[in-house]
């Protein structure tokens, strides 16, 4: 009896992360396993917590545009877009329609690159390296476009407060349309692969199911939620920027398993292709930037929401009339989706864990809002939110 008790308490824990080949970013997961079966899962985040929200309070409005862009390297444009939109509304500045169209164009190109990136990584987690290689090869066409258009492959820095930095020329238009045609053909092929390949379906069909109820309860966002039948997409629910002019159709699947998530993301790409063509063919004329954007923003507060490739990005910005924001609050979709991984993990095989994790398209850089400090003596010290906040305040007080 005693022996049994101790055996039960002693869990065999498999840590994934912070340095692990399945995760390109540091996050720490602990899966208690019984043989190969996962019985319990915990997550510890905070390795990438840099204190951006607090840091933003010590930078001026322009600098913050680039700081928030570096919250996440995959949806960099979306963060800058959300921030710029919020600040522009706060300053009551109307952005010229051409600039808005270009912003949405870059956002959709970014969505394609992000979904292709995710698709490749997910295939890699499943051990299907050929699919990974091919999808990343095709993704390079989009990266080339983005680099040619904006000057950088990842942090495009397309936005300035009150507009965008560059124009889309006829030459760009031609190359983008060509690339979109090519990508559409490839995406059809990939959709065929993920829905028919028997070996691949063994790893995706019926794995990690989150039904509609669970999705609502856990507050899942983005494509992960749409794969479970939740009709939630900011681009449709509350059209912003150029999406008012170029509406988009929502892609919803109901199965809620990994396969559905693959299908939703790939089908979303077709919508992106359609939208890009539409924007390029009906590009509004006009300026790229407003003449003069105020350096000081009048007092007030604003909420800005944008649909990132992973789900809804939410910004709260408050100004006290100075050159710097008084408060900047960011909520990213991965934060909301992370809970679903832990809920889904229990009862699955250890081999499915990387797939499940990647299924929500996690972005740890986005979601690290808490922190646990590990000092050099090796003892762990969990910091509460209060303590972290106090540390931030003290840090900046000391600096000034």
């Amino acid at each position: 009896m005693m022996l049994e008790m101790t055996q039960k308490e002693e869990k065999f824990i498999i840590p994934i992360g912070p340095q692990h080949p399945a995760l390109k970013e540091p996050g720490h997961f602990e899966f208690a396993v019984d043989g190969e079966l996962v019985t319990d899962a915990t997550v510890r985040l905070g390795y990438v917590h840099r204190g951006i929200e607090k840091g933003a309070e010590a930078r001026n409005w322009n600098q913050n545009l680039y700081l928030v862009e570096r919250i996440c390297g995959i949806c960099s444009h979306i963060h800058a877009f959300t921030y710029a939109r919020g600040v522009e509304r706060l300053a009551e500045v109307e952005v010229p329609p051409r600039a808005q169209a270009i912003r949405v164009l870059v956002a959709e190109l970014e969505r394609i690159h992000s979904h292709m990136l995710w698709f490749g990584v997910a295939a890699h987690e499943a051990g299907f390296d050929t699919l990974f290689m091919f999808s990343w090869r095709d993704r390079e066409t989009i990266m080339d476009i983005l680099e040619g258009l904006t000057g950088n492959r990842v942090n495009y820095s397309a936005n300035v407060l009150g507009g965008v930095k560059f124009d889309v020329t006829d030459e760009h238009r031609k190359t983008i349309l060509e690339a979109v045609d090519f990508m559409e053909k490839r995406t059809k092929h990939y959709l065929n692969v993920v829905t028919t390949d028997a070996m691949f379906l063994q790893r995706t069909r019926g794995i990690g199911v989150a039904n509609l109820q669970q999705a609502h309860r856990l507050g899942i966002l983005g494509p992960t939620a749409r794969a479970s039948g939740v009709k939630r997409d900011v681009r449709v629910d509350a059209p912003y920027s150029a999406y008012k002019q170029f509406p988009i159709k929502m892609v919803v699947e109901t199965a809620g398993d990994l396969e559905a998530r693959f299908v939703v993301r790939l089908k979303e790409l077709f919508e992106s292709y359609r939208l890009i063509r539409e924007i390029l063919n009906n590009m509004p004329e006009g300026d790229l930037q407003v003449k003069r954007f105020p350096r000081r923003i009048k007092p007030g507060e604003v909420i800005s929401r944008v649909e990132a490739p992973r789900g809804e990005v939410f910004y709260y910005i408050r100004s006290n009339g100075g050159e710097m924001p008084e408060r900047l609050k960011v909520r990213t979709p991965t934060m909301m989706n992370m809970a679903s991984v832990l809920a889904m993990a229990v009862g699955h095989q250890l081999a499915d864990m990387p797939m499940l994790l990647v299924g929500i398209d996690p972005c740890f850089s986005c979601n690290d809002r808490g922190v646990a400090i590990c000092n050099s003596k090796g003892d762990h010290d969990q910091w509460t939110w209060e303590r972290l906040r106090q540390h931030g305040i003290d840090f900046y007080a000391e600096k000034v």
């Binding site: 340095q19 970013e25 390795y47 990438v48 090869r137 390079e140 680099e147 850089s365 050099s376 540390h391």
Partner: protein, 166 residues
């Protein structure tokens, strides 16, 4: 005596040749925005295919020769970075990819950022850029390998032990 000398020279040459032609990487993100991480991954994919230079991305620090770090060092990941570096077998090299890995970049002055990589572990090659293009990453790697091959001096001083944080 002479013969052993020559023999040793030849052995050294073979060793260096093997080392230069088979750099196995391990990658750690110590707090970056993962822009650099995906570019590192992109160097392995068909367009850039770093495997033609012998590069292989390894999962275990024990198998790796080159530690590729991205991002500024946050308070929490500092310890991990140190540990991964210690776990790697000699000879080992460190490459700092991206501006924040070299200097803190856009994140300098954020309260949870300790600083750059070479405040924690010695760095052998720096690749600036935000993020550097995959070609630039390959270029940085080639510069590191050339330095190893020619025996050019690379920074290997151990940085001063940082004060314990908290």
């Amino acid at each position: 005596m002479n013969i052993t000398q020559e023999w040793n020279d030849i052995l050294d040459k073979v060793k260096t040749w093997a080392r230069v032609n088979s750099p196995w990487l391990i990658h750690y993100n110590s707090g970056s925005c993962n822009g650099c991480d995906i570019e590192i991954l992109a160097t392995l994919t068909p367009r850039y295919d770093a495997e033609r230079l012998g590069v292989k991305l390894q999962g275990s620090p024990r198998h790796a020769d080159v530690l590729v770090c991205t991002g500024p060092v946050t308070m929490q990941s500092r310890d991990r970075l140190q540990r991964i570096y210690d776990q790697m077998p000699d000879p080992k090299f460190v490459v700092a990819v991206g501006s924040c890995a070299i200097s803190g970049g856009a994140f300098q002055g954020c309260y949870n950022v300790i600083g750059h990589i070479d405040e924690v572990i010695p760095v052998d090659a720096y690749i600036p850029g935000c993020p550097p293009r995959p070609e630039a990453i390959i270029d940085g790697l080639v510069k590191l390998l050339t330095a190893i091959k020619t025996g050019a001096p690379i920074q290997t001083e151990k940085p001063e032990e940082l004060l314990d944080v908290v």
